[in-house]
């Protein structure tokens, strides 16, 4: 029996507390089949087994809270580890540069990894914490993205309540497709720059 089956059974039997716990743990970084659970919760709401608004509120709070835990762990735990490593092996300048990049581009990255490329979510919590991305700014990008994610998935489950398995499968694959194609676009730009350095420089 798969973990998806077990999760869905537990959500059906015990309702919101289980949904809350599962999403919290998954947001910290445990790879639970969380998209399927959210879509199914939307379907259960449609069938009257759960209530729509409490599902959305509980899932959103759990997701945001889980992100803060991931961020906090890496900021105060992981950071100490990094400091110890750089003191011994050097490379502090590189870490500084990574921090600068994170501060500059981190926001949209955090936002889009909440709902569009969800597989990256926990990773960005960790890197944001490690890079000391300001916590207030983190939560400003994080919270709307998570609410959007929850509303999107639960609503899709609510609308297509009689075929949650297909919806979850489509969404899961689309998320990976977007991730891979985004990488392809970034790498593609780099390739273009290799071939046409002068023209690219002019256009900047």
């Amino acid at each position: 029996m798969s973990i998806t089956d077990q999760l869905l059974e537990a959500v059906l039997l015990y309702g919101l507390p289980v949904l809350f716990g599962v999403i919290l743990i998954a947001s910290v970084g445990v790879p639970f089949p969380i998209s399927m659970t959210l879509v199914a919760a939307g379907s259960f709401a449609k069938q009257g087994e759960m209530k729509l608004v409490p599902v959305i509120i509980a899932a959103s709070i759990a997701a945001i809270l889980g992100d803060q835990i991931g961020y906090g762990l890496s900021r105060w735990g992981g950071r100490r580890l990094i400091d110890r490593i750089t003191r011994r092996l050097g490379g502090a300048a590189k870490i500084k540069r990574a921090e600068a990049v994170s501060k500059k581009w981190g926001g949209p990255g955090i936002f889009f990894s909440r709902w569009l490329v969800t597989a990256l979510g926990p990773w960005l919590n960790f890197t944001s914490g490690m890079a000391r991305y300001p916590w207030r700014r983190f939560i400003v990008w994080d919270a709307p993205g998570q609410v959007l994610w929850v509303v999107l998935y639960v609503t899709l489950g609510y609308i297509f309540s009689d075929r949650v398995q297909y919806i979850a499968e489509i969404l899961g694959n689309l998320a990976w497709a977007i991730l891979a194609l985004t990488a392809a676009i970034i790498l593609g730009f780099r390739l273009v720059r290799y071939f046409r350095p002068a023209r690219f420089a002019r256009s900047l």
Partner: protein, 123 residues
């Protein structure tokens, strides 16, 4: 055309790899959508409740309850796996029984022809 350094060729390989991965996942995403267009029903799984199956297959719940010989309860939250365990049956048997009832319940069900009479086979 310039010759690529090893680093540039690495970028080229990564580009092709991510592009093909992207296409692969797009196809995987489109496939269930197509399947779902032609086959309306999703497979019955152990986590589903009677209510969910009835909802998904658009049949009245009592049809399914009758098929398993259960009294009709409006919010029976037991998953099929539990019901199977309680009835000492496998989930496959449960699935077969439900599908049979669903086929019977759907209206444009053609009246099956009476079986050919074969005096030797009948007891």
């Amino acid at each position: 055309m310039k010759k690529l350094t090893w680093r540039q060729s690495l970028v080229a390989v990564a580009f092709l790899l991510s592009l093909s991965l992207g296409i692969f996942f797009v196809i995987r995403a489109v496939r269930p959508a197509i399947y779902w267009h032609y086959h309306q029903d999703e497979p019955i799984r152990g986590w589903m409740t009677m209510g969910y199956v009835a909802h998904s297959y658009h049949v009245p719940p009592y049809v399914l309850h009758q098929a398993l010989g259960l009294p009709e309860k409006p919010h029976d939250k037991r998953p099929l796996r539990e019901i199977a365990k309680a009835q000492n049956r496998s989930i496959d048997e449960i699935r077969t029984a439900l599908l049979e009832a669903i086929v019977q319940a759907r209206r444009p069900y053609p009246a099956s022809p009476s079986p050919p009479t074969n005096p030797e086979a009948s007891p």
